[in-house]
């Protein structure tokens, strides 16, 4: 299957899932209250995150075909996203400042004067376009990694906590082993050994990131299984799997959500460091910062590239951090600190 078809399907699934989840939240008193109180506390941050998600979706829906894309004769045979189409064919030859009508060096007139809200980069690409495209990459890194790490952590954490004994010993050993290796080094090593790609970056981030949540979910499961109604269910002969799926996992749902949000910013910031080491993900903000860092010593200085990437990154992390904080206060006052 072509990558763009897959991407479109994923978008469709995500939207359906979002609609479904909204339904669930609306029906459950607890969840809708939690969300309302979150909304009251962090309106701006939630809107900001919504904006990033929207941009990422716009960059994920793509199809083949359409008119000529500037000088590029290949583009019309390849899938272009809505975002790409909005910025198609406005490439310049080299640097231009935000909203300028001439090139930054040399002062030759631009092909599309005044169209570049955030200027253009060394190769004349629109910086706003590049910065917006980074949103998809960042959400992809955070999302895909969590998608690998959280189920893994739940699987190990819950089974260790619920069954105890040998399984618990084994999981605990794996956790201590992974946790005792220096995180960043392990991350780098994994990527170097697996080869550089978006997927291997996410796997490496997941392998280094799942331990913390595994510990929390193990602890929480131990607490839950001692609760009276679960003991009662066991005594009544309810199957183990049924207990786990009906009684334990739903009670971990709030932890999953909080972990996801708290993990997210760390993942995106880690990717920026990986980019600096040359093993990041193509098109990320980290990569833009890395490319732009030498530009600070150009004279006259080229500031719009690094500021665009830097503030896009900062904005997302800030919003996520604020929401994460509030989420923790709203949904869970205590448990998670132990996982840090």
């Amino acid at each position: 299957m072509e990558a763009w078809v897959f991407s479109n399907i994923v978008v469709a699934i995500l939207i359906t899932a979002a609609v479904g989840l909204t339904g669930v939240v609306l029906r459950s008193r607890m969840w809708s209250n939690a969300f309302l109180s979150l909304w009251r506390r962090r309106r701006v941050a939630i809107i900001a995150i919504g904006f990033y998600v929207l941009v990422a979706l716009l960059d994920s829906v793509s199809w083949v075909g359409g008119e000529q894309f500037g000088e590029d004769a290949v583009a019309k045979y390849q899938a272009q996203s809505i975002l790409d189409r909005a910025f198609a064919g406005i490439r310049e030859r080299s640097y231009s400042a935000p909203l300028a009508s001439v090139e930054f060096y040399g002062g030759a007139p631009l092909v599309h004067p005044g169209r570049h809200l955030l200027g253009t980069d060394l190769l004349g690409r629109d910086v706003l376009h590049l910065a917006l495209k980074g949103a998809r990459v960042a959400l992809l890194i955070g999302g895909l990694t969590s998608l690998i790490a959280i189920p893994l952590a739940l699987l190990f954490g819950v089974s260790a906590g619920y069954f105890g004994g040998r399984i618990d010993d084994f999981v605990f050993f794996i956790m201590s082993t992974l946790a005792s290796m220096p995180g960043l080094l392990l991350l780098i090593t994994l990527i170097m050994v697996m080869g550089k790609s978006t997927f291997s970056v996410c796997i490496a981030l997941a392998v280094t990131g799942w331990v913390g949540f595994c510990r929390v979910s193990r602890g929480e499961t131990i607490k839950l299984r001692e609760l009276e109604y679960i003991s009662a269910a066991r005594a009544l002969g309810v199957g183990e799997m049924r207990i786990i799926f009906r009684h334990i996992l739903p009670n971990l749902a709030h932890l999953v959500i909080i972990t996801f949000v708290l993990m997210f910013s760390g993942l995106v910031l880690s990717e920026a460091i990986l980019s600096w080491l040359g093993i990041g993900v193509d098109g990320s903000w980290g990569q833009m910062i890395d490319q732009a860092r030498d530009e600070l010593s150009r004279d006259p200085i080229v500031w719009w590239n690094i500021s665009a990437a830097g503030s896009a990154l900062f904005g997302l992390i800030l919003a996520v951090n604020f929401v994460g904080d509030a989420l923790r206060d709203v949904m869970d006052p205590r448990t998670l600190r132990e996982g840090e």
């Binding site: 050993f173 794996i174 201590s176 082993t177 992974l178 946790a179 005792s180 290796m181 220096p182 960043l184 080094l185 392990l186 780098i188 090593t189 994994l190 170097m192 050994v193 697996m194 910013s265 910031l269 920026a272 460091i273 600096w276 080491l277 040359g278 093993i279 980290g286 910062i289 890395d290 860092r293 600070l296 010593s297 690094i306 830097g310 990154l313 900062f314 992390i317 800030l318 951090n321 604020f322 904080d325 205590r334 600190r337 840090e340």
Partner: protein, 321 residues
């Protein structure tokens, strides 16, 4: 007590053995020694030279124990070398890795120890202050500032500081290092400043949570009800009772004194272990990388054991069993 210590240490040893096995899988089965040899020697070398190189580095043996080579294989060799701290020579340039570690540990500690001390000295009082003023605008501003500081990528801090302080203001050298005590402070000032600013947001926020939680416990409430001054409560009761989480944080930071300054060292040209690691990454020098991960986890496990044991010292409520 003694039984606990022994059990704790035995578990530490098992974890280290596990780490070593994981490293073996990563570095020997996923990447082939031939690749490493070619990288080190260049591609135009005859096969015989590659073979000789593999012999010199001990990469010519069978990977796992097999009939005829129960002890003479790379798995056993790997354990033997790592456990006896015989790290051998670098894949990339054949220098003894132990020499490099010795040369790198000084500059690394010169940066990380002051950085660590200053961060503690700055973040604990600040966190106490913020916790003392909790639910006032000082607290709210403090938390917002912390989150702001945490949300900036450390790359931006480094680049910004080099540009502003080094280049425009001429306060300190932009980068570099010299072990000469007459000049070493000049070089460390800028990375210290950056490390401090980059880390302080997270630290203050963490300690604030610790303090606030502790100040909500029953006996603190009792002290407060008895009319104890708030600052006195903070200083006496809360701080003392927060020692466990603080201690955990502190001891667990020890391995990061050693490996944690990957970025600072590289950007500021400090020839420490972090910079050596980054060089190893850029040069595909797996032997150095392997050693670094191993030593990092060794220190971490050691630190953890120390933490567990020292709990008993700071908190009589914890009994070691």
């Amino acid at each position: 007590m003694l039984a606990y210590v022994i059990r704790r240490m035995a578990y530490g040893v098992i974890v280290v053995l596990g780490v070593l096995f994981f490293l073996f899988l990563l570095f020997f089965t996923v990447t082939s020694p031939d690749d490493v040899a070619r990288k080190a020697l260049g591609e135009r070398v005859p096969e015989a030279v590659v073979e000789q190189w593999k012999v010199n580095h001990g990469y010519d043996k069978p990977l796992f124990p097999e009939p005829g080579a129960w002890t003479d294989n790379m798995l056993v060799e790997h354990y033997r070398r790592m456990l006896t701290f015989d790290f051998g020579r670098s894949d990339a340039d054949d220098t003894p890795i132990a020499d490099r570690l010795r040369a790198g540990v000084g500059p690394s500690l010169a940066l990380t120890v002051p950085l660590f001390t200053f961060s503690l000295l700055a973040s604990i009082p600040l966190a106490l202050l913020v916790a003392l003023f909790r639910d006032t605008y000082i607290d709210r501003m403090g938390v917002v500032l912390c989150v702001l500081a945490m949300s900036v990528s450390i790359l931006l801090y480094i680049i910004g500081a080099q540009y502003l302080i080094g280049r425009l203001l001429h306060w300190f050298p932009i980068s570099g290092f010299d072990a000469d005590p007459r000049v070493v402070v000049r070089f460390l000032a800028l990375p210290l400043l950056v490390g401090l600013v980059a880390g302080i947001g997270g630290d203050v926020r963490f300690y604030r949570t610790v303090f606030i939680e502790e100040s909500n416990t029953d006996f603190v409430r009792t002290a407060r009800a008895k009319g104890c001054g708030e600052a006195r409560i903070m200083g006496r009761h809360v701080l003392r009772n927060s020692l466990i989480p603080i201690l955990t944080q502190v001891v667990l930071a020890i391995p990061f004194l050693f490996t944690g300054s990957l970025l600072l060292e590289s950007f500021f040209g400090i020839p420490g272990l972090g910079a050596i690691t980054v060089d190893a990454i850029n040069g595909n020098d797996f032997s150095v990388l392997r050693t670094m991960v191993y030593i990092g986890s060794l220190l971490f496990v050691g630190g953890q054991i120390l933490t567990d044991l020292s709990y008993g010292l700071v908190d009589p409520r914890v009994r070691l069993e």
